[in-house]
């Protein structure tokens, strides 16, 4: 992959004080930084402050960055540390389950969509089957707005995982590194987030189709 080579170039440009290179980097990562910061701090404003502080720390640490991890992973490590410090200072404790979702079960689909698990003939089968979605409605601008709303409504950790994986297109390994998540927890969080967005889409498209 050309990623390592382009990262070398980017680093050289940043160290040389190239403003365009910095602008590009900020545009690429700032939205994700703010979303990840929201896992730890309670308000959007605090998350933006954490992100701004992160950029300063990145600039100040640039000469010491040795490239043992990717630049991206390094930036998100810095963010996470700053966000945690900020959360402690604000007296906010992270709920125990936020990064360890296994403790609290959550159904991907409302249980009343299925027949009883003790049903004599069709245990756990669909009571109300999902119907195919109309292709044209899927592509409508309003559908995209509904998706954005559904993402906003997610718990912060789920929102961060689905944003990085599915909107920004990161690999699961990159997300695990940036958020310091186990493989299983990353998948559970992604599953819950995707399931909820699907359910929101289904609600909307059923409503629109009737």
């Amino acid at each position: 992959m050309a990623q390592a080579a382009s990262e070398e170039k980017l680093l050289a440009a940043l160290r040389a004080g190239d403003e365009d290179a910095f602008r590009e980097l900020v545009r690429e990562y700032q939205p994700s930084l703010v979303r990840v910061a929201r896992i730890y701090v309670s308000t959007q404003a605090a998350a933006e402050e954490v992100a701004a502080e992160t950029w300063l720390a990145v600039l100040n640490g640039l000469d010491r960055f040795e490239g043992r991890s990717s630049l991206r992973t390094w930036i998100f490590r810095i963010l996470t540390n700053i966000a945690k410090t900020r959360a402690v200072r604000d007296g906010r404790t992270l709920p125990f389950s936020a990064l360890d979702p296994g403790r609290v079960p959550e159904a991907a689909v409302a249980p009343d969509r299925f027949l009883d698990p003790e049903h004599p003939r069709w245990p756990g089968h669909w009571a109300v089957k999902p119907g195919p979605w109309p292709e044209d409605a899927l592509l409508a601008a309003e559908t995209r707005e509904r998706i954005a709303e559904a993402i906003e409504a997610l718990p912060a950790t789920q929102r961060a995982v689905i944003s990085l994986r599915d909107i920004e297109g990161w690999s699961s390994e990159e997300v695990r590194n940036a958020l310091d998540l186990s493989e299983t927890n990353q998948r559970v969080l992604l599953h819950r987030a995707r399931s909820k967005v699907r359910a929101a889409l289904e609600d909307y498209l059923n409503e629109a189709g009737t």
Binding site: V26, P31, W55, L56, W126, I162, S172, L190, V197, R198
Partner: protein, 83 residues
């Protein structure tokens, strides 16, 4: 041998969709999953909807940075550069 394998219910299957799409199921689990999908229209549609959801997410516009925030960060960059 297949006949002895316990079948997945639809309610169980929907919890495995992400593991399936991530390639995280064991060979046996994957076969059970695909066997169920092959015989169940509801779950087939469900899997397709999850794929469509992921695909739509990939085409959302990324959140943009406010011009103000960008200007402030660039200001900080200039300060760092001249320090």
């Amino acid at each position: 041998m297949n006949e002895h394998v316990e079948q997945l219910s639809c309610q169980e299957l929907v919890e495995l969709v992400t593991n399936y799409l991530e390639g995280a199921l064991s060979e046996e689990e994957r076969l059970r999953f695909e066997d169920h999908i092959g015989r169940c229209q509801g779950c087939k549609v469900y899997l397709e909807q999850m794929r469509q959801t992921v695909s739509l997410l990939g085409h959302l516009p990324e959140a943009a940075l406010s011009p103000n925030a960008e200007a402030e960060l660039l200001e900080a960059f200039r300060g760092w550069r001249s320090a």
